[in-house]
């Protein structure tokens, strides 16, 4: 027994670096190997009984361990069987780790002399036989690490002499039987890693001898019962990874022998009881993953034996109360992911602090990190995701043991001190997303063990020091989003272990050094968004591990080296926006490609068929190059293809039928080529996921297929600049998600289909430069989201401009020029307040231009019979009358103006007084106030425009004849004069 205990406590003291082993192995290391003595049995039929037990196992005769179990020898000599000296009474059966399968025979309950039964670490299945409850001499029962299922038999409660019961790591379910509380000799109760549910029975409080209670990794719920307070000899409590609720009981403070308390990953709430500070024996305290709130009790600082404290992932708040100054044994302090506030205390550690790991990431800590410089034993320091400020202190090199340093996602400023080079044990240095400035100190080259260097998203500058290439252990380097300039170090090829090199979004220039090709562990290389020049070095052919290469937005040029054909693992290639030329073939060596983006280069030649070996390609983007030849029919093999952009090349031929296999296509951009033939109807029948289809600027002819209505996911459709004929199909009405429709510059005939009104999300509609006839359908007024442009110019549209067009309140550009439109401009056009470009020229329009449109230039209206500003004056009588006012009339008007001005002033004063006395009752929206309101506006403001908008808005619908319009126009000008006079 003593030996058992010793094993357990040894396990608890295991050095940290050993504890990474898996749960099962760990359990196995705790296997009890018990020394047993042999005596003769008194039961003549014991052998028959054990053979029955054996026969319940699967393949009993093939098991090597049980091969000597036969009637020819004395049962006490059988493997695993122990009898007391000179007795034939079996007291112990130990078949641990014997490869047993099958079930435990209930006959075992007849072995009444049995004191120790160990069947642990086998593959036994079926239930735990309740007959075990008859073995009242049993002291040790070990069935852990099998595949036993069913309930824990309540009969085990009869085992009054049992001091060790370990049946965990099985598939047992149901509740813990309260009868276990009758096993009053129990010192060890292990039920972990099962599927037990229900609450912890309060009867367990009767187990006054209990030293070790492990119930972790079950589905236990409810509170931790108060009755456990009676288990005063307890040394280990492991209740972690259950669903326990309620608060942490404060009686734990009375467990004077407690060494390990593990309550992690439950639903515990409330504060950490300060009484835990009384448990001076405590070594390990795990509270992470609960819902604990409040401050960390200062009393925890009394735990002088404490080695590990993990309270991470709770809702703890307040200051950082824990002081390693007092916790002299503390090695591991983890309070990450809480809401701790305030600064890290000065001189956080004492001189002899044993704190090796400090994790305070994901809190709200402020201030500098200087207080930690006293923690000279630190090996891992994670303060990431806080609000720390100040610079990285020069004295950081006091932390000579430091291996991992994570300070990312803070607000640190200033340079990286050159003393960082003295931290020669450093393996991880993560400083990303701060405000660090200046250049990388050359001393970084002394960090021979550095594996990971993340400086991204800072404001660092200067050149990348050549000395960095001395850090030959480097595996991941990420400098994204800084201002590093100059060239990539020539000797970068020294970094043979480099797996990730990310230099995107800097100001690097010059050529890519050929030595980079010798970093042959490299898997991800991102040099995009810099100013790199020159061509790709031949040596890149050695980067055979490479799966991602992004070079976009540089000025790289020249042909691609043939050696790239050797890069068989490439999955993502993005060379877009460079000046590469020649054939793209060298990039097609891999058949694992998923993304292939060479947009905007000067690649020429045909699209290589080798590209289509990569059947998992989702994106091919070759737009803006000089590719020639046809679209290969092999494209139809790419069933995963989502985006195909071959726009602005010199491709010829027809759209290959096989493309209809690419049913997942959402983007198909073939515009700006010399493709010809009909637009096949299968495009719209089979590619129903299309959101964007651009076939513009090709030589497509024939009708627009009626099947177009099937592509109801289309958001942008452009067939601009082809030779399409026939009508605009009415099925267009089914494209209800369409934002942009561009059919400009074709030979489409027939009417503008009124059904287009169903495309309610259109913000851009261009049907110009076709042969469309008939009137502009008044239904277009339903397209109230039209914003960018409505362009119907250069057609043969006739009739009047529909009055309803004035509903397009968001429209910014309207072009109806070069049609046969006739009649007067509808008054409603003045409601187009968003309009800033208007072209109605070269139609048969006549009459007067509404004043609200007079701010548009002459060429908006030229080529019509329109008059009024900005065109010539209308010849209507009111105008000529106005020209020939008699002197008397002029004087009369002036008198009237003076009079009206005076009245207006008086009225204004009256209104002011009224408003002043009764503010809340004046409302803008009531129509009877409109007159006075608008007058005030004109009076205060500058101007003409004011009256224009005010007057034209609401009243325009009332205006009927052009005569009325005119008189009303002069009325506004009089009003203007009046106010000028008044002010």
């Amino acid at each position: 027994m003593d030996r058992t205990e010793k094993h357990f406590s040894n396990a608890l003291l295991l050095p940290l670096h050993l504890i990474l082993s898996s749960v099962c192995t760990c359990t196995c290391t705790l296997l009890l190997l018990l020394t047993l003595t042999c005596t003769a049995t008194t039961h003549a039929d014991t052998d028959a009984l054990l053979l029955t037990f054996k026969s319940a196992l699967n393949n009993p005769n093939s098991n090597v361990t049980l091969s000597d179990w036969s009637t020819s020898t004395s049962v006490c000599t059988w493997h695993g069987v122990t009898c007391p000296e000179n007795e034939e009474r079996v007291t112990s059966l130990n078949l641990s780790s014997s490869g047993l399968t099958g079930i435990i025979s209930p006959i075992i309950g007849d072995l009444l002399s049995l004191e120790i039964l160990d069947l642990s670490s086998n593959s036994l299945s079926g239930p735990i036989p309740r007959e075990l409850g008859m073995l009242t001499n049993l002291k040790v029962l070990l069935l852990y690490s099998n595949s036993l299922s069913g309930l824990i038999p309540p009969e085990l409660g009869h085992l009054q002499n049992l001091y060790t019961l370990r049946i965990g790591d099985n598939m047992l379910y149901g509740e813990i039987p309260p009868t276990l509380g009758n096993c009053t000799s129990l010192e060890t109760l292990g039920l972990a890693y099962c599927r037990l549910n229900g609450t912890i029975p309060p009867q367990l409080g009767n187990l006054r001898q209990l030293k070790l209670l492990t119930l972790q990794n079950n589905s236990l719920s409810g509170p931790i019962p108060d009755q456990l307070a009676q288990c005063t000899r307890i040394q280990v409590i492991s209740l972690n990874d259950n669903m326990l609720e309620g608060e942490i009981p404060s009686f734990i403070g009375e467990f004077s022998a407690l060494k390990t308390l593990n309550l992690a990953n439950n639903y515990l709430k409330g504060e950490i009881p300060a009484d835990i500070g009384n448990v001076r024996s405590l070594n390990h305290l795990y509270l992470f993953g609960n819902r604990l709130t409040g401050n960390i009790p200062y009393e925890l600082n009394q735990l002088s034996q404490l080695q590990i404290l993990d309270a991470s992932s709770n809702n703890l708040s307040g200051p950082m109360n824990i002081s390693p100054d007092h916790l002299i044994s503390l090695e591991f302090l983890v309070i990450s992911s809480n809401f701790l506030q305030g600064e890290i205390p000065k001189d956080f550690c004492s001189r002899n602090s044993s704190l090796r790991n400090l994790f305070l990431a994901g809190n709200q800590l402020t201030g500098t990190i200087n207080g930690l410089l006293s923690c000279t034993s630190l090996q891992s320091l994670d303060l990431s995701n806080n609000s720390l400020t100040g610079s990285i202190p020069h004295a950081i090199d006091q932390l000579t043991e430091l291996v991992n340093l994570a300070l990312h996602n803070n607000s640190l400023t200033g340079p990286i001190p050159h003393q960082i080079g003295n931290l020669t044990n450093l393996e991880i240095l993560s400083l990303y997303h701060n405000h660090l400035t200046d250049s990388i100190p050359v001393e970084i080259g002394k960090l021979k063990r550095l594996a990971l260097l993340f400086l991204y998203e800072n404001q660092m500058s200067g050149t990348i020091p050549e000395e960095l290439t001395n850090c030959t252990s480097l595996q991941e380097v990420d400098f994204f989003g800084n201002h590093f300039s100059g060239t990539i170090p020539d000797q970068i090829g020294n970094l043979k272990n480099l797996i990730v090199l990310q230099l995107r979004e800097n100001d690097l220039s010059g050529p890519i050094p050929p030595s980079l090709g010798y970093c042959n562990s490299l898997q991800q290389l991102a040099l995009a968004d810099n100013s790199l020049t020159g061509s790709l070095p031949d040596t890149f052919g050695f980067l055979t591990e490479l799966n991602l290469i992004t070079l976009y937005n540089n000025s790289l040029a020249g042909d691609l080296p043939r050696s790239l054909l050797g890069l068989k693992n490439l999955s993502i290639i993005n060379f877009s926006h460079n000046k590469f030329s020649g054939t793209v073939e060298p990039l097609t060596g891999s058949d694992l490609l998923t993304v292939f983006d060479l947009t905007n280069n000067s690649f020429s030649g045909q699209i290589p068929l080798e590209l289509f070996k990569s059947r998992n390609l989702t994106r091919i983007r070759l737009g803006h190059n000089q590719l020639t030849g046809p679209i290969p029919s092999q494209v139809g093999l790419l069933h995963q293809l989502v985006s195909l952009d071959l726009s602005d090349n010199d491709l010829t031929g027809e759209m290959p039928l096989s493309l209809s296999n690419c049913k997942g296509l959402t983007h198909l951009l073939l515009n700006g080529n010399r493709l010809s033939g009909y637009i096949p109807s299968w495009v719209f029948r089979d590619l129903v996921s299309l959101g964007e289809l651009d076939l513009s600027s090709n030589n497509f002819s024939g009708d627009i297929p009626k099947e177009i209505g099937n592509c109801s996911a289309l958001i942008k459709l452009s067939l601009y600049n082809n030779k399409l004929t026939g009508p605009i199909p009415v099925e267009i009405r089914k494209l209800t998600l369409l934002n942009v429709l561009n059919l400009q510059k074709n030979k489409l005939s027939g009417p503008v289909p009124p059904e287009i009104q169903q495309c309610k999300k259109l913000y851009e509609l261009r049907l110009s430069e076709n042969l469309l006839t008939g009137p502009i359908p008044s239904e277009l007024s339903s397209l109230t989201e039209l914003q960018v442009i409505l362009d119907l110019s250069y057609n043969d549209l006739s009739g009047q401009i529909p009055d309803t067009l004035g509903n397009l309140l968001k429209l910014e550009r309207l072009n109806l020029s070069f049609n046969q439109l006739q009649g007067a401009l509808p008054d409603s056009l003045v409601r187009l307040t968003s309009l800033h470009r208007l072209n109605l020229s070269s139609n048969l329009l006549q009459g007067e231009i509404p004043l609200a449109l007079s701010s548009f230039p002459q060429n908006s209206f030229s080529g019509n019979n329109l008059c009024g500003v900005p065109m010539g004056p209308c010849s209507d009588p009111p105008v000529s009358k106005g020209k020939h006012l008699s002197k008397a009339e002029v004087e009369g008007i002036i008198v009237a103006i003076v009079l009206v001005s005076a009245i207006v002033c008086v009225a204004l004063m009256y209104i002011m007084a009224r408003i002043w006395s009764n503010w809340r009752e004046v409302s803008v929206s009531t129509s009877d106030c409109e007159e006075s309101n608008s007058k005030r506006w004109v009076g205060n403001g500058d101007k003409i425009q004011a009256s224009k908008y005010r007057k034209l808005g609401p009243t325009s619908t009332r205006v009927g004849s052009s005569e009325e319009k005119h008189s009303w126009g002069s009325d506004t000008s009089v009003l203007r004069m009046k106010n000028d006079a008044a002010c």
């Binding site: 357990f8 492991s238 994790f359 877009s576 307040t833 409302s923 803008v924 403001g941």
Partner: protein, 215 residues
């Protein structure tokens, strides 16, 4: 024992997990993804917003200029619920913010004032509340500002009179208070732009009453 092994592996994972996102992606795409994460999108209009792409220019409802900078965001009438976040202010080149006719809630983030190229801010017919941020007066390119049919409160910030390009403004059907400015572009807006704000008290009378009178 088992439990301690669990802890240590967990803790060391924490360090490495937190450090792992190498190959960070572009900022506009990130901003849009951050925005997406606030939204409930039952019609899946944001399905194509894949952050693993180099830039958001091939995402639907996002339009870029020739330099791959986001200039339009078109999510009008898309049955979206959620809030607007400060990240939208990072779309430095945005010209059109079309989020009308959805169920956007919460405040208009003051960071929208950073969209110095914005031409059109269409947030009408949502459920936005709080005040109209003063910072919107920084939108010197703004021509169209439609915030009508929301639940906006407070007074109309006087700073908006400096928006000299503003051509169309609609604040109607909110719960604004105080008086209506009369200077700058406000001299041109019709009364309809302000109607149905029960506590809005008409054009301001310079010097006679404070602009937030009655708020």
């Amino acid at each position: 024992m088992a439990s301690s092994s669990l802890l240590i592996s967990l803790a060391s994972c924490l360090l490495f997990l937190a450090v792992s996102p190498a190959l960070a992606s572009n900022s506009e795409g990130e901003a849009l993804c951050a925005f997406k994460s606030r939204l409930s999108d039952p019609n899946n209009v944001l399905q194509s917003w894949d952050q693993s792409l180099v830039n958001p220019c091939t995402w639907f409802h996002v339009t870029c200029d020739s330099q791959n900078r986001v200039i339009r965001l078109d999510l009008g009438n898309s049955n979206i619920t959620g809030t607007l976040g400060p990240e939208l202010g990072r779309l430095q080149h945005l010209q059109y913010l079309e989020l009308y006719r959805n169920s956007f809630m919460g405040k208009i983030p003051e960071e929208l004032g950073n969209l110095k190229n914005l031409v059109s801010m269409d947030l009408y017919e949502n459920q936005l509340e709080g005040e109209i941020p003063k910072s919107l007066s920084k939108l010197k390119s703004l021509r169209f500002m439609r915030l009508n049919n929301n639940k906006l409160t407070g007074s109309i910030p006087r700073e908006l009179v400096t928006l000299s390009n503003l051509k169309v403004l609609d604040f109607s059907n909110n719960d604004l208070c105080g008086t209506i400015p009369v200077d700058g572009p406000f001299s041109t807006f019709p009364p309809e732009s302000f109607e149905n704000n029960k506590r809005l008290n008409g054009p301001e009378l310079l010097g006679l009453a404070s602009y937030d009178f009655g708020c």
